[in-house]
Amino acid sequence: MSLEEKVKAVFKDVLEIGAEEIKPDEKMDICLGLDSTEMVEITVGLKKAFNLDILNNEFKKTLTFNELIEKIKSRGAVE
């Protein structure tokens, strides 16, 4: 499974949405209606999925999905 697919799996698990609802270049709070606590829950899921050492409020809901992927990569996650 690619890094992107693993991230989408976390979103699907937390938000109970289909992968097609994620618009890669739109802000997540707008396209997914993501609230701040949901972003924390997604971050906790990403920490487990990629064994990241980050704070729970590291990622903001106003990022786009593609920006989030870049940030996850910059924290050392690999495909």
């Binding site: 938000l15 109970e16 606590t37 924390v40 829950e41 906790v44 920490k47 729970n56």
Partner: protein, 410 residues
Amino acid sequence: MKKISITGLGIVSPSGIDKRKFWANIKAGRSAVKKIERFDASKYQSRIAGQVHELDAYSNVSSRLLKKIDLFSHMALVASEISIKDAGIDMAKENLKRAGIFAGNAIGGWLYAETELRDMYLEGREGVSPFMASAWFPAAPQGQISIHYQIKGYSKTIVSDRASSLMAIAYGAKNLNDGKNDFILAGGMEAPVSPYGLLCCNTSGVLTLRNDEPETAYRPFDKTRDGMAVAEGAGILILETEERAKKRGAKIYANIIGYGTTTDGVDRIEPAADGIELGRAIQMALKDAQLEPSQIDYVCADGAGTQIGDLSETRGIKLGLGGHAKKIPVSAPKSIFGNMLGASGVLDVATTILAMEHNLVPPTINLNNPDLECDLDYCASGVQEKEIKRALVINRGRGGINCALIIEKS
């Protein structure tokens, strides 16, 4: 105070979610108190309760949101939706900066909280849902209702034990009287049927121990009473000024015309035996409504079902209404579905409104052995035919929080 109209009714109760079903069960005096089956309550001293069924059938709350909220918020959202629809309010056409929420509950959302606390001890802090922080606290339902409907006006959550939602209705009415809102969603919600919630209710010592006879266990004003059966549920009323309600052609169930509140200040759990402060709260409500005691047709009582609670309430009603207290029916219809703690008040107001509509006084069930010191007409023999023009609703919280509200048929 100005007349504040009640134009919407949303009920989520063990006796029914729809108001027709609810009233049919009240009228028949059909008990909804049963053995608790949600979890293993066999080790609890009191293990019976009024529990809500069919909530999912009435709920439009998404599974995504359900993960974030406790049962008490869920029930409040369902009650709000029913009430808004009943009032014929189109939220899209309202100025939501002038809409408000006044909600009351006593214990918060423990079903969610205790599940997460258990996970914290089993899995560590990473095992706790981040929604925990916003799911359990008493103002959570107010927050969820405001988010759902984009309500942005003056709002408040009242925590006054079993008087919480009656206080919320009273303060909501005051706010409308002061011109701070155009309309208000007012009421309460409570979900005490959880392992920790029930434990707290048990340790307060006010629950009945008649576990083998759930339907007849809660018996307010009966000589053999030994406490209340706890219940879960929610109720939301739509409140607006009479002027606005008439202008938009709304059905007005009844008007709130006065209220009074006092505290006993004598004990952590029990009310003052003399009922003096309850009597004073009733007199404050009468003064606020500019009424004489003789103008009250019915009293919807708190009916705690404890030895001292019912005695103290009877004394308070007699002090508040004088000799008139013995001439009118006084009943505790919550004996049918259980004591909803902080949500009791709104269900009492809803029951009283339906009683006014049907010209029937709801009964106190399970009162078979009269107590000589509780000597009012508690409608023990069943529903009574009577036109109710004005009614007094009483709720009392632990430690003697007293609230009295007067409503008048439109």
